[in-house]
């Protein structure tokens, strides 16, 4: 797809799997911990640095590492592109859905129940700031952000990698 003269890099076959032994072993040992760390950052965002954006990026980075070392087809077995497409929209839908749920739950009372007003999500929502409602609202909203960010990064990686691969890698 590029009309540069073929260099030694293009004439060389892609590295076979058995030549990447150390990379395969180390990444197989570490990728579960990377994904687990992403979940930790997502749900620990209330108490320390973290939240949806960082967690989504770390999750996508772990999956991209798997794809780079084991081949794009293996990654597409684990996370099909259709799932990624659904995930991109699902996060925003979750976020907006929480807002609409606040609208619906606070319908009868005046003064509360705006879009994204988490106070009505608590058990006895209404007056003042409801801590349980805030906690639930923040949790769901950050989950939506995390899903969208992880799916978007993975989708962009899929687009680039599918575009650039000449044929199936072993």
């Amino acid at each position: 797809m590029s009309d540069a003269p073929p260099s030694a890099k293009d004439r060389r076959p892609p590295m076979r799997m058995r030549e990447k032994l150390i990379l395969r072993v180390v990444s197989k040992a570490l990728i579960p911990f990377i994904l687990l760390f992403a979940l930790y950052v997502q749900f620990h965002g209330d108490f320390g640095p973290g939240g949806g954006f960082q967690a989504g990026v770390i999750f996508a980075a772990g999956l991209v590492l798997y794809g780079v070392i084991f081949g794009l087809s293996s990654l597409e077995h684990v996370v099909p592109p259709r799932t990624v497409e659904i995930g991109v929209a699902l996060g925003v839908l979750l976020y907006g859905g929480v807002g609409v749920a606040c609208l619906v739950l606070g319908a009868g009372q005046e003064g509360v129940g705006n879009f994204l007003d988490y106070n009505v999500l608590g058990s006895h929502g209404g007056e003042g700031v409801n801590a349980h409602g805030q906690h639930l609202g923040i949790l769901l909203v950050e989950l939506g952000v995390g899903i969208t960010v992880a799916s978007s990064m993975l989708a962009i990686f899929y687009m680039f990698a599918e575009r650039g691969r000449p044929e199936d890698d072993s």
């Binding site: 030694a8 060389r12 076959p13 590295m15 040992a29 570490l30």
Partner: protein
């Protein structure tokens, strides 16, 4: 200064010294492969000793702080040599020139010197 602080100071100075050694080596080495070796000294000895020194400074804090530092140390010691290995392997497959010693093996095409990085 208590004993723990003295040990931590000594380890931090040693770690900084190794980072400096790595930086000087990166500058002075003649070849890509030897420069990768110098950079990996910064990654493993430098970062490792700094982290161990920081673990000694966690006096009076929650017990999870040195545990987290230890986990970061394990992660760094696992991934830095692997990335150095991946660098050298990719360079050997590309055919980057070496200056002295035996040529690196496991290159599918032994086209020899292609470019000096």
């Amino acid at each position: 200064m208590t004993t723990l602080e003295l040990i931590a100071a000594a380890l931090l100075c040693l770690g900084t010294f190794f980072c400096l050694v790595g930086g000087i080596g990166l500058h002075r080495m003649p070849d890509f492969y030897t420069r990768t070796h110098a950079a990996s000294i910064t990654d493993t000895m430098g970062a490792g000793l700094v982290l161990v020194g920081l673990m000694f400074l966690c006096d009076g804090q929650h017990w999870t702080v040195p545990v987290k530092l230890g986990m970061v140390l394990v992660f760094v010691l696992l991934t830095s040599p692997t990335s150095g290995h991946a660098l050298v392997k990719a360079a050997a497959a590309e055919g980057v020139r070496w200056v002295t010693g035996t040529p690196p093996d496991s290159s599918p095409d032994a086209e020899g010197s292609k470019e000096e990085v």
